[in-house]
Symmetry: C2
Subunit: 256 residues, 2 copies
Amino acid sequence: MNFDKEISDHYLRGHEKYLRNISVDCIIFGFHDNELKVLLLHARYAMLWALPGGFINKAEHMDEAAKRILKERTGLDEIYMQQFHVFSAPERFNKKIHQQFLKNAGVIISESWMFERFITVGYSALVDFSRVQPVADVFSNACQWFNIHDIPEMMLDHRNILNKALENLQAQLNYHPVGYNLLPEKFTMPEIQKLYETILDKKLDRRNFQRKILGTGILKRLNETKKGVAHKAPWYYKFDLRKYQKALKGGMGFEL
Amino acid sequence: MNFDKEISDHYLRGHEKYLRNISVDCIIFGFHDNELKVLLLHARYAMLWALPGGFINKAEHMDEAAKRILKERTGLDEIYMQQFHVFSAPERFNKKIHQQFLKNAGVIISESWMFERFITVGYSALVDFSRVQPVADVFSNACQWFNIHDIPEMMLDHRNILNKALENLQAQLNYHPVGYNLLPEKFTMPEIQKLYETILDKKLDRRNFQRKILGTGILKRLNETKKGVAHKAPWYYKFDLRKYQKALKGGMGFEL
DNA sequence: CCAAAAGTGTTTAAAATACACCCATGC
DNA sequence: GCATGGGTGTATTTTAAACACTTTTGG
């Protein structure tokens, strides 16, 4: 299907495929070089950045829609995602941007389900930066990572959604395990600590952190240390997947 | 507007007024006789109980829709409500029930936005049982309170939504103040403790509870004690509205 | 004056925090 | 051999939980 056809099809017949007035936006966090990053799309012509989002197929669970969107933008599968809030301000739509977009795409459409207001459900995910191949969608001309401290101007209320996702991530750090999919298969204690420090944006005590994270039981120490470091070699750890999954559902309760 | 007209109008033209594929369901908790109650509607003909729900006007914030629904069922205004989860299973609709309902109402409709699947956002509220005048909606023939431990069979996934609301309420008890709108203007320490015990469904130590609840600063002691009790008279307290509202937003963090 | 229930502590246990010392490695 | 950063253990503070004694009131 060529570009124009795909666009006009989406605007004219998307409502036959998707639920109306409701969308999903994903806040995809990544971790790299000890920095927390977010994956954003650059909306064509609008000249603004946007969260990767999409719509819900008529016979699809919303959680599946979020995972599908994640997969489309990153190629990643089997990632834990979580809805964190619904955004429903009546002014959260912008017909002008759509018309500008269509005009530039050379498509003339006067009526569309896409011009209506959308309520959006925010989903957040934590992924392994290095395994991601960012892919833009048809509405975008770029898809790239941004440092959490250096976010560009964003569409509509997307900045607000992002802030809420970050707050939510920080708050949940005490109750949900974090790191699987985000750290390499085997990692050292300082590495996982850096991850926590980056998300929380504060320093943690090395010794107390180790005691607590080991206390949750989600880590298994390997019989192997890191090589080639100019100091005492740290142990490698990996996640105990059984306990990790269990903690994801039931929570684990510790304070940092 | 007569009954038939109202029904057929809703089924045939509701989509001109409301957003499609999305609804709001309210879990309205009340407190009475030291029991936690929930307000339910009895769906005509379906012979099942349902959560009070509704739809979102095209130009209305979803939070406003939830408050409007609460007001319609209870007459109450100015109640703190909170979204807690979105329910989006593709099978959460039941065309047959609608057709049964319409048949019994003597209305013939073959196509309607109401026959489609709905994603619903759960909102919870805590209200003063004694100030509520339960009012059924056009789809229901009863509206009444049920003890949380004695819930009847419910439509679709409504029981699941209710359970999630209760879990959420219990979990939030440590971070959000509870009681305004729920207790009389002035109340005693044992009364507010009973409220917490009822929601959490467990006994709390009288002395530790008092220390913690006073520690949050949301209560002000009045210069007045309860009269006519055959033992030492407890003080009356009331909420410090300024601090209460502040704690609603920012959380307060104490453990019970 | 006694039972019932509230007010006001204190004692004890647990958990979070801060901190100190030793160990291994590369330069 | 020393600077760097990791491993382990302990003292201190803070917070939560358990518990005891006194006070007030109606009958």
